[in-house]
């Protein structure tokens, strides 16, 4: 389990990360969302033991990352947003280098390397030189390198940046698979629909502050206190607008493409009551549905576009 407790990073006057708290469990895929300069990379680097926090700490399976970085490092795999690879060697030799550096016994190395190559779909490239691989393949090799020692926590900083659509889909599938394997995966990204596909938890950070975190569905549920209902009447919309304006839960109405978008401050019960009342009053309704929020809507509702 990863337990982040009041993690804070200051650079002089600048507070890059402000007392962040969250907890993740095995199998969680956590999408870490925020604009550029929000403090995502700083947080990830602190969790990776590469930066010392100004205050607070985090524990991974009960081990304090600040006090015992050397004990935590073998338990985590880290893929930075800008990464390099040792050149002049083949993919297999590259992974052998890291297997040796993680003190994996020589007898086990070949089997482990074969497994991670298979997992990252790089088996066909095992004899290729590292620098001849495409960007997407290098990204997967970097991930493969982070997996040779079977870490329990994976920190992936913008893993899909600079990739073509196919490589993005492949990385996405891979992350989903890693979550299914029971690893804790923390992924930062700007591309929200991408994260929505495979994250079961998200955290939104802005100006160094974690504004919200939790299960994706729960966050959306919380934010949908003020729902938007799309109602498509048959015939003229004006009588319906007048009728809706009398309703206590209705806060505003917009008209677009023949549909009414109603800002509604009620739950499912009140929605059902409204529909029943409208039909009883003789209005002919062709469509009545709640507009569901996606991750982009959540992000836009929560953030203000500020950087620290």
């Amino acid at each position: 389990m990863l337990d982040v407790q009041g993690l804070r990073k200051e650079y002089g006057e600048l507070v890059a990360v402000r007392d962040i708290h969250f907890q993740l469990h095995p199998g969680d895929v956590f999408g870490f969302i925020g604009p550029n300069g929000a403090g995502k990379t700083t947080t990830i680097k602190m969790l990776a033991t590469l930066l010392e926090p100004t205050a607070g700490t985090a524990t991974l399976n009960g081990i304090d990352i600040v006090r015992y970085p050397e004990e935590v490092r073998p338990l985590l795999g880290y893929m930075p947003d800008f990464f390099g690879l040792y050149e002049g060697i083949t993919v297999t030799e590259y992974l052998e280098f890291f297997a040796a550096a993680y003190r994996i016994p020589k007898a086990q190395r070949a089997a482990i390397i074969e497994n991670v190559l298979e997992l990252t779909d790089l088996t066909v490239k095992k004899d290729a030189y590292v620098e001849t691989l495409s960007r997407g393949m290098q990204q997967r090799l970097c991930l493969a390198k982070s997996l040779v020692h079977d870490p329990i926590l994976l920190l992936l900083d913008e893993p899909a940046s600079g990739l073509d659509p196919r490589a993005r889909i492949e990385i996405k599938e891979l992350i989903r698979e890693l979550g299914a394997m029971g690893k804790i995966v923390l992924v930062s990204s700007h591309i929200l629909p991408e994260l929505a596909d495979f994250c079961n938890k998200i955290g939104i950070i802005e100006k160094g502050e974690l504004l919200v975190w939790g299960a994706v569905d729960e966050i959306i549920e919380q934010l949908q206190a003020n729902r938007v209902l799309e109602i498509r009447p048959l015939g003229e919309p004006e009588p319906l607008i007048q009728r809706l304006e009398q309703e206590a839960h209705v806060h505003g109405i917009e008209t677009r493409n023949g549909s009414l978008y109603v800002h509604f401050a009620g739950g499912l019960e009140e929605q059902a009551d409204l529909l029943t009342a409208l039909i009883r009053d003789g209005f002919r309704i062709a469509a009545f549905r709640e507009e569901s929020l996606d991750l982009e809507d959540v992000f836009m509702q929560i953030t203000k576009g500020e950087v620290s």
Binding site: E70, G84, Y86, G88, A101, H149
Partner: protein, 288 residues
């Protein structure tokens, strides 16, 4: 790691990164090897035929060392920053000591190999006796080790390969050429030999080494090319010279000052100091 050889960094730098180059650009590498090999053999043949003095042989070897040693260390740690591989390296289970040995060990091994390659030039000179031979090798290897150690440390501190190389080469120009010139321009007009002539015991030698730190002669005495120049004075003395009191006052002064050994020891001591700085740097800033 049970042995140094099991260190993956050492293996990567000594073998991993180089062995494939032969396969990938065979013509280029064969041509380079052939050219260098021929030049080496030609130089060796000249040394065998003409038997140069120890000063010339050591100058030649030092010149090669001054050019080559920085190249053996200048990018060992800076490339980790420039290619952004250092974070991955830090997170492995390699300890600070292993990372340090993986880098410093590579630089030192390369310098040792170069010293061995240059050994025939010293051995085929008209060198006499074990004292001069040993002193010459210590000076050559010590200077190389100092450059390599300084290179590894600068490479860690400056984090830029080109800057490290520039500082190493420019530093040598200052220490070996410009500072001695300044000594001649601002102070003495001749080599500081009278201090050496006055040395008549090991005690004298000890104080002379201390005094020269303050009167500027140190910059001349510590210059490996000057060390080689004065070693020419050993030319006509046998090993008996080491135990018997023969030779003139100047030669006796050099003997008491442990000429060559002291300077080699200083180079090696400084090399260890910079190695210590590098180890400490890795341990602290990489939180190892």
């Amino acid at each position: 790691m049970k042995t140094l050889w099991e260190n993956p960094l050492l293996q990567y730098h000594l073998l991993g990164a180089t062995r494939h180059r032969w396969k990938r650009q065979p013509w280029l590498y064969w041509a380079a090897t052939l050219g260098t090999g021929l030049a080496y053999l030609l130089a060796l043949q000249t040394a065998v035929n003409y038997r140069p003095g120890i000063d010339i042989a050591l100058w030649f070897s030092l010149f090669i060392m001054c050019l080559a040693a920085p190249l053996m260390a200048y990018n060992l740690l800076s490339s980790e920053y420039e290619k952004q591989t250092w974070e991955s390296l830090v997170l492995t289970r390699l300890t600070a000591r292993e990372i340090f040995w993986g880098k410093w060990g590579v630089a030192l091994t390369r310098v040792a190999v170069l010293t061995l390659l240059l050994a025939p030039f010293l051995l085929f000179s008209d060198i006499r006796g074990w004292y001069t031979t040993t002193a010459a090798f210590i000076v050559l290897f010590g200077w190389g080790a100092l450059l390599a150690s300084l290179g590894v440390w600068l490479s860690f501190k400056l984090k830029r390969t080109l800057t490290t190389a520039s500082v190493l080469y420019a530093g040598q120009v200052f220490v070996l050429l410009l500072f001695p010139m300044l000594y001649f321009i601002l102070g003495e007009r001749s080599l500081p030999r009278e201090l050496i002539s006055a040395v008549q015991s090991y005690g004298d030698a000890y104080y002379t080494w201390i005094i020269c730190l303050f009167n500027g002669a140190f910059i001349i005495y510590i210059n490996p090319f000057y060390v080689a120049l004065e070693m020419e004075h050993f030319r006509w003395l046998s090993d008996w010279w080491w135990t018997e009191h023969n030779g003139n006052a100047y030669q006796q002064g050099l003997r008491y000052m442990l000429w060559g050994f002291t300077q080699g020891g200083i180079y090696l001591g400084l090399a260890l100091l910079f190695a210590g700085f590098t180890y400490r740097g890795i341990k602290i800033s990489w939180r190892k």
